[in-house]
Structures are given as structure tokens and as C-alpha cells.
């Protein structure tokens, strides 16, 4: 792709205005300003222009024009992403799907809903509650994030050990290809002939197509849910208790862990009644029929006590359950209160390495001189370390980034991965070189080319150019050796 666009912003805007309401083809800096970043506000860029189409036909025409002139296109939903996946390209177009915000159809018997991509995640469950149904994946940003963005990131949430990720809960997407074709991938059935393009599209971060419709599966709302809260005097014991629950044949609806720092911050914020002296806290939600929940709650309490819990408490009402979750769900803003800024990481590890990873992180915390609090989707191994920093202190964000990078390298080292649910975007693109070798990365580039021969969809995100990888790997290798020597001498 050429570094200069072959068409000017003014010419492009004029072409778009021929078929899109001119008020929604934005070229002035002031109106474009809110689009300069997504939820990862440390990474900013102003686009060439912003366009808000309202029909799939308009998206097709936008794509055909951009493809012809090789103009980059960055799709954007609610802008809640945490890896700068929707950060604009300075010589490209931001294509906002904000106007695609309608629920098109709900079929209660088939337990499906057909949605435009700009429908908010939580709005789906709210709308279908009248039929006793809900939509499974519930990322923390569910009040604001949209289903189109969920498809792009393969979003999870606190219930995915039992109910799966976005990829497990969608039936089909209608998408516009880079070349402007409109296709439906998947159908009303549970599978389709040929390669599984629906899985490939899910989590592809806007690099393979623009989603204009999503058909989701809905689940019957469980009769009842209860939470057992258990405090432990060590992370190791809490980790063992997670294994204990699963060995018992219980698959909790949600299974969350917080470390000592996160417990205090969350309890100060939400007054959730957490055991403040505990070094680790587990929240274990069991849902299902009344009989099943009664049976499993009793078993869970026993397992926790047997494995050394210092406190065990079970919610006795919906209010109590909501309060116990409130602390966990507000852990990020709670930590935000005790620090001017925080940086949320998203590595995933095999759970057996949890204690080792947390200890290593404490060591790094001292090394980098930055505090870290941990919340953990314990059921599925997804860690969210929150690094506390102050962006106004020169050099502190750079140190934070380096600390974050080291955490991700550690995740890969123990057999995990650099991102469980936030995506690679721009933020983690360097660490892709640690997760994958050049042959694998080249295969990813070739996959993208199969969908997007001109390379106009969200270029520069997700998969790094190979020429940068070698450099990063050797740098990290040196750094790693240096750390090891330091540790030995320390």
C-alpha cells in the first residue's frame, strides 16, 4: 500500500456526500476529535475523515470507493475497545456504525435475535428478558459496548467458562467485504458447509470485513443464581480452591478472583463486605434450577472450607448477590480512585501457573517501581493486572508500558497468551512477535490478503509487519537475559 492516499479528503468527502447525508460525512477537526481514540486513550490519531452510513448499501459504496483508491478504513462501534483497535489511520476513513442501532427481529421460540451491529450488548438482554431469555457474553463494558465490536473482539465476560465467548453465541453475520461485496457468513443452523469463516471473522478486529448484521443465540434465564464468597490467606490456596471446585464436577456460572490490593480498593469503593484481611478472594456463582443450585452451593462451601478458606459467605437474596458482584464489577473504577491513572492488561495463563505468575508480577512491580492490583477470571485463566501510574509524571507511562510488556512475555513463557479478550490492536502488536514465529505471522498476513487483497481494512493493527519482529525479539531477549542476571545478583 502506498504511504500517500491517491485521493484527497475533500474529494473523498464529496464522493461520500453523493449518497450519505452530508452532515454525517465529517471532515472538520473539532467534530472528528472524539474519534481520535477508543477506550485506550493513550493511543491517539486524527483520521482523514469520519463517515456514518446508515444502510448496508452505503457501507458497500464506501468500501468500493476506498478499495479503488486504497484508502484505509477503520470500523468503529461504541469506541470502548481496550487495545486501540479502533484508533484511526491518519490517511484513512473512520467508518462509524453508530447508526446501525436497531434490533431487527427477536424469535423467542428459536431463541435468536437479529441485530444491527451498533446495538449495545446489555440492550439485547434487557429487550429479550420479557421472554425469559438473555444473551450470554457479558463483558464489563456491556452497558456501552456494541455487538459488532463484540464480534470484532470475540468478547467474553465473567460467565464464559460455562456459557462461552462471542464465537459460541452467534449464528451468522452479514458483512461487507473490502471489495464491497455483501455476504452472509453462517445461517440459522448450527453449522455451515465449508471452512468455518464465522469463527475466523470472530475476533478479527475489523481486519477482514465490516459487519452489518449479527444473529445471536439467546439462552433461557436460569431460575436462580447464588454467589459463594470465600477469602483465603494466600493466592496459592485460592488457586487450589478453584481447581477443587472444578474437580468436583461443578462448572460455576462465574468464578472470579481478586488479590489483596484489589479487595481493599473494591471494598472501599462498593462497601461490598469483603474480608479486608484476605490475600485472595473468590466469588463463585452457581446458576441453574433451584435444586441444582442448592446442591452445588453446599458442595462449593464445603470445598472452600476444606481447602483452607478463612471466611465463607453465601448470598441469601438477589440484593446480597448484586452487592457481592458490585465490588468485582467496579474493581477498575475502584482502582482508578486510588491512582491518577491505571493500565489494564489482559494476559491469559494456564491456571496451574497462577501463583508463580503473581509472585513474578510482585517482583516486577518492585523492579519498575509501580504498584499493581490483580483481578482474575479464575475459571478461564484470564488475568487483568491493573498497573497504577501517573501520566503526568514524565516517563511513567513508558515504564508502565514496559512493565505491561514484561507481564505479557511472562504469560507466553508459561504457555498462555498475550490477550484473552481485549484484542491485539495497536497496543499489543509488538508482543505478537513473542507469541508467534515469522511463518505463523506470515500465514496471518496471507489470511488477511484472502479477504482484503488491497490491505485497506484496519491496516497496522493485529498482526505486525515481519521486519519489526526480529528487532523486538532480540531486544526482549537481551532484556530478559539482563533481568535474569540482575535477579541472580540481587
Amino acid at each position: 500500500m502506498n504511504s500517500k492516499p491517491k485521493i484527497s479528503a475533500a474529494e473523498l468527502a464529496e464522493q461520500f456526500r453523493a449518497f450519505i447525508d452530508p452532515d454525517f460525512v465529517i471532515t472538520d477537526d473539532e467534530t472528528m476529535k472524539p474519534y481520535e481514540c477508543d477506550g485506550m486513550s493513550m493511543y491517539c490519531e486524527m483520521p482523514m475523515l469520519v463517515v456514518l452510513p446508515e444502510t448496508a448499501e452505503q457501507v458497500q459504496r464506501v468500501m468500493r470507493i476506498c478499495n479503488e483508491h486504497e484508502v484505509p478504513v477503520v470500523a468503529r462501534g461504541a469506541g470502548t475497545g481496550l487495545s486501540a483497535g479502533a484508533m484511526p489511520h491518519k490517511e484513512g476513513v473512520v467508518l462509524s456504525l453508530a447508526k446501525f442501532n436497531r434490533i431487527l427481529d427477536i424469535d423467542p421460540l428459536a431463541r435468536t435475535a437479529l441485530l444491527q451491529p451498533g446495538v449495545r450488548n446489555l440492550a439485547i438482554s434487557e429487550e429479550v428478558a420479557q421472554y425469559g431469555l438473555y444473551y450470554g457474553p457479558d463483558p464489563s463494558s456491556q452497558i456501552a459496548c456494541t455487538i459488532g465490536g463484540n464480534v470484532a473482539e470475540n468478547s467474553g465476560g465473567v460467565h464464559c467458562l460455562k456459557y462461552g465467548l462471542t464465537v459460541h453465541n452467534i449464528l451468522s453475520v452479514e458483512m461487507i467485504t473490502a471489495e464491497g461485496d455483501r455476504v452472509t457468513v453462517g445461517n440459522d443452523a448450527l453449522d455451515a458447509c465449508g471452512m468455518d469463516l464465522l469463527a475466523l471473522m470472530t475476533g478479527s478486529e475489523g481486519l477482514l470485513g465490516i459487519v452489518t448484521k449479527v444473529k445471536v443465540k439467546l439462552l433461557p434465564k436460569p431460575e436462580i443464581a447464588q454467589v459463594v464468597m470465600a477469602g483465603f490467606d494466600s493466592v496459592q490456596k485460592a488457586g487450589d480452591a478453584v481447581g477443587g471446585i472444578i474437580s468436583h464436577g461443578i462448572i460455576p456460572g462465574g468464578l472470579e478472583m481478586m488479590d489483596g490490593h484489589a479487595i481493599i480498593a473494591a471494598d472501599d469503593f462498593a462497601q461490598a463486605g469483603y474480608p479486608r484481611e484476605a490475600k485472595a478472594l473468590l466469588l463463585c456463582e452457581v446458576d441453574g434450577t433451584e435444586e441444582e443450585v442448592n446442591e452445588h452451593i453446599e458442595q462449593a462451601e464445603n470445598v472452600f472450607r476444606k481447602l483452607g478458606a478463612t471466611s465463607v459467605k453465601t448470598s441469601q437474596s438477589e440484593e446480597e448477590r448484586a452487592l457481592l458482584w458490585k465490588g468485582r464489577k467496579s474493581a477498575f473504577p475502584a482502582v482508578g480512585r486510588i491512582s491518577p491513572d491505571y493500565y489494564c492488561m489482559d494476559g491469559t495463563i494456564p491456571r496451574r501457573h497462577l501463583a508463580h505468575v503473581l509472585l513474578e508480577m510482585e517482583r516486577m512491580s518492585e523492579e519498575f517501581g509501580l504498584r499493581v492490583a490483580n483481578v482474575f477470571h479464575a475459571g478461564d485463566g484470564n488475568l487483568h493486572p491493573l498497573i497504577l501510574f501517573d501520566a503526568n509524571v514524565p516517563g511513567e507511562f513508558e515504564r508502565t508500558e514496559a512493565f505491561g510488556g514484561s507481564i505479557l512475555n511472562l504469560c507466553v513463557e508459561v504457555g498462555g497468551c498475550i490477550t484473552g479478550e481485549h484484542g491485539v490492536g495497536v497496543e499489543k502488536i509488538r508482543q505478537m512477535a513473542i507469541q508467534f514465529n515469522d511463518e505463523e505471522l506470515q500465514q496471518f498476513h496471507d489470511v488477511k490478503a484472502a479477504f482484503d487483497p488491497a490491505g485497506i481494512l484496519n491496516p497496522g493493527k493485529g498482526v505486525p509487519a515481519l521486519r519489526f519482529c526480529q528487532e523486538y525479539r532480540s531486544l526482549e531477549h537481551k532484556q530478559h537475559k539482563h533481568d535474569t542476571v540482575d535477579a541472580a545478583h540481587g
Binding site: 462461552g164 469463527a199 475466523l200 434450577t289 475459571g379 504457555g415 500465514q443
Partner: protein, 354 residues
């Protein structure tokens, strides 16, 4: 138990050099599936690339080489009270994990427990350039790079030879009960979907020979309470019925008559086609026996929100899978080229044009 990956890699590199094509074979129990294999192609034998590489029961994760049999994996899981809850069909003792993923085969619990594709966490793959690649991993959540692991489900080996698979496994349900009652075909679609809409421990719903079968599985108290409330007789040794369905050993599947698979919307009206039908997956998977023209069946399947394929028997020199619209066909051709530029693997097995 043997790691033959190096030998397999050498064979692919050799084939690339000499221009030879390769049919990927495991236990050979699914030779009847897809279009007829290219008779001039050599064989890439995965059947001896076997062994469970890692198994962590408390993490619900198992990694095995592609040639490992389902029998071996399920026996190992059973020792820990766990199972492959997508209930993969076995068409013989030799059925392997690799073939199960390549053909995307799952059993009666699929609408509730997910498919083999849903449980895959990562793979190793030999592509057509002879590169041994690793995608995904051993963790439940992983969005680093494209999901090229699940992309293999249903690709029937056209993108490369899967050499290793990591998957999520689950605890065996503590108890299961099967309920049966008489029901006409035109009532059963609504009935099964209504039951599926209730928050009860249902894990299978099927209809055959004028009878509807529902399976309840999970915590003992929940299964017993639901079985007491729902209509239908309890079937003695009900698990046998579901196993017959899972492994296609039910009488419905006997004989040489062409077997068509309709994968459609669960509530769709049944295609207007005389002959024997078996409905599974609460209406999402419907089997039909009889001579028919695929183009005509495709129209019916599309009307029902899905697709049709000729699963077994009939003319296997022609297309056996539902046709692809132009744009998706082109994307799949380009994907094939990106993984297998010389078209070494399973030529024409999925579609004549792949």
C-alpha cells in the same frame, strides 16, 4: 504413542517438490465422507501420529496428537470423571480426533454442549509449504491472531494436516434420564423448541419413528425434579438410544440409500419431502433418506434457513456440499491458496473447485 511430525513434514516437503498430491488419512473411518478422494494422490498417514500430549483435569484441558483415537481419549477422560461433551460420533474403532475436527462432527448434545469446533482451543498444522505452525493455545480465552484453529472445522483437510489439537473437556453429568412419548412430525418442532426454551437441564431432543425423545442430564436433584414435571415415559437404559444416534448405529441409518443432512433453523417447517426423516438437535439437524437432486434440496434447505449436504452414499463425483455464493467461494479459494499454494492436500474432497 509416537510423534511423527518430523516425518510428516518431510513427506509434505517432498510432495511439494515432486508435485504430488496427498490425501490425509487417519483411522480411515470417514472415507465415505466428502467427494471421492483423488485416486492418483498419495497418502499422508496421520493414524500413527498418536498420543495424549498433556491432560490437566482441573483446568479442563487436553492436548492430543491428531491421530489419537477418540476411544483412547474418552477412556483417559473417564478415569477423571470427564468427557468430550460434544459427543463425537465414531464410525469405527479407528476414528481419530483430527478427523473429527476436520469434518466438524458432534453428537446429540451439540445444541447445549457445543460442537467440536466450539471446544477447540488451539492446533498445530502442517501447511502446504511444509511449515509446522502453532495457533491458539491451551487457554479458554485467546484473541491473539486470527482463529485459524476453528477455521479447520469442516474444511476437511483442505487447508493442511492438523497434527495436534488442544480442547476444552468437561465433567461427566452426574446423572441422566431419557423421556419418550408419541408425537406427530408436524407437532414435534414446536414441542422440542418450547422445551429448549425452559431453564431446565435438557441436553438432547430428537424425533424418530413417531416418537420424541428428550434427555435430561446434570445434577441429580435437578434431573429428577424436571423428569417428574415433564410428560413422557422414562426410558430404561436411555443412554443406549443416544449412543445409537451419536454413532449412527440406529436402524434409521442402516442400508445404502443416500443419506442427506439438513442443517437448518431449529424452528423451520420441515422440507416437503416424502420419505424417512430423523430430527435431532431440537430441530437444527435433520436427516433424510432417499434419491434426490441436490439442487432441489438446496432450495428447500435455504428456505429452512440452512444448508444441505449428501452425507453418505449417492453420487460422490459430483458436489456433495451445499453450493457457496460467489464471494464466499472466492474467499475460500484464496484461503486455500494461502495455506496450500500448490494444492497438495485433499484435492477436490470438499468441493470440486478446492
Amino acid at each position: 504413542m509416537a510423534d511423527l511430525s518430523q516425518k510428516l513434514q518431510e513427506q509434505v516437503l517432498q510432495a511439494r517438490k515432486t508435485g504430488q498430491k496427498l490425501n490425509i488419512e487417519g483411522g480411515g473411518t470417514k472415507a465415505f465422507m466428502g467427494r471421492a478422494a483423488d485416486a492418483d494422490a498419495g497418502s499422508l498417514n496421520m493414524g500413527e501420529h498418536t498420543g495424549i500430549v498433556e491432560y490437566h483435569p482441573v483446568e479442563l484441558i487436553l492436548t492430543a496428537r491428531a491421530g489419537t483415537t477418540l476411544a483412547e481419549i474418552e477412556a483417559t477422560l473417564a478415569e477423571e470423571g470427564q468427557c468430550l461433551h460434544f459427543e463425537p460420533p465414531r464410525f469405527g474403532d479407528g476414528s481419530t480426533l483430527g478427523g473429527t475436527l476436520a469434518c466438524n462432527l458432534s453428537g446429540p448434545a451439540r445444541p447445549w454442549s457445543g460442537s467440536v469446533r466450539d471446544q477447540v482451543l488451539g492446533i498445530r498444522l502442517l501447511n502446504g509449504k511444509g511449515e509446522h505452525l502453532r495457533f491458539g493455545g491451551q487457554v479458554m480465552k485467546n484473541v491473539a491472531g486470527y482463529d485459524t484453529s476453528r477455521l479447520q472445522a469442516g474444511a476437511m483437510g483442505t487447508l493442511g494436516a492438523i497434527t495436534e489439537i488442544s480442547l476444552k473437556v468437561m465433567p461427566k453429568p452426574a446423572m441422566s434420564v431419557t423421556l419418550v412419548q408419541d408425537m406427530a412430525m408436524d407437532e414435534v418442532i414446536h414441542y422440542m423448541n418450547s422445551r429448549a426454551k425452559e431453564p431446565k437441564p435438557i441436553t438432547s431432543a430428537a424425533w424418530v419413528d413417531g416418537k420424541v425423545y428428550l434427555r435430561l442430564a446434570g445434577a441429580k436433584s435437578a434431573v429428577e425434579a424436571t423428569a417428574g414435571k415433564w410428560s413422557g415415559e422414562v426410558v430404561e437404559q436411555g443412554d443406549q438410544f443416544w449412543q445409537q444416534l451419536q454413532h449412527m448405529q440406529h436402524d434409521f441409518f442402516a442400508g445404502d440409500e443416500p443419506l442427506w443432512r439438513f442443517s437448518v433453523g431449529s424452528t423451520a417447517k420441515n422440507p416437503d419431502l416424502d420419505g424417512p426423516w430423523l430430527i435431532d438437535w431440537a430441530g437444527s439437524q435433520r436427516w433424510y433418506r432417499g434419491e434426490a437432486d441436490i439442487a432441489q434440496l438446496e432450495t428447500m434447505a435455504q428456505r429452512a434457513g440452512g444448508q444441505v449436504s449428501l452425507f453418505r452414499g449417492g453420487d460422490r463425483t459430483d458436489e456433495v456440499m451445499h453450493h457457496q455464493p460467489r464471494a464466499l467461494k472466492e474467499i475460500q479459494q484464496r484461503l486455500k491458496k494461502s495455506f496450500d499454494p500448490d494444492g497438495i492436500f485433499n484435492p477436490g474432497r470438499l468441493y470440486s473447485w478446492l
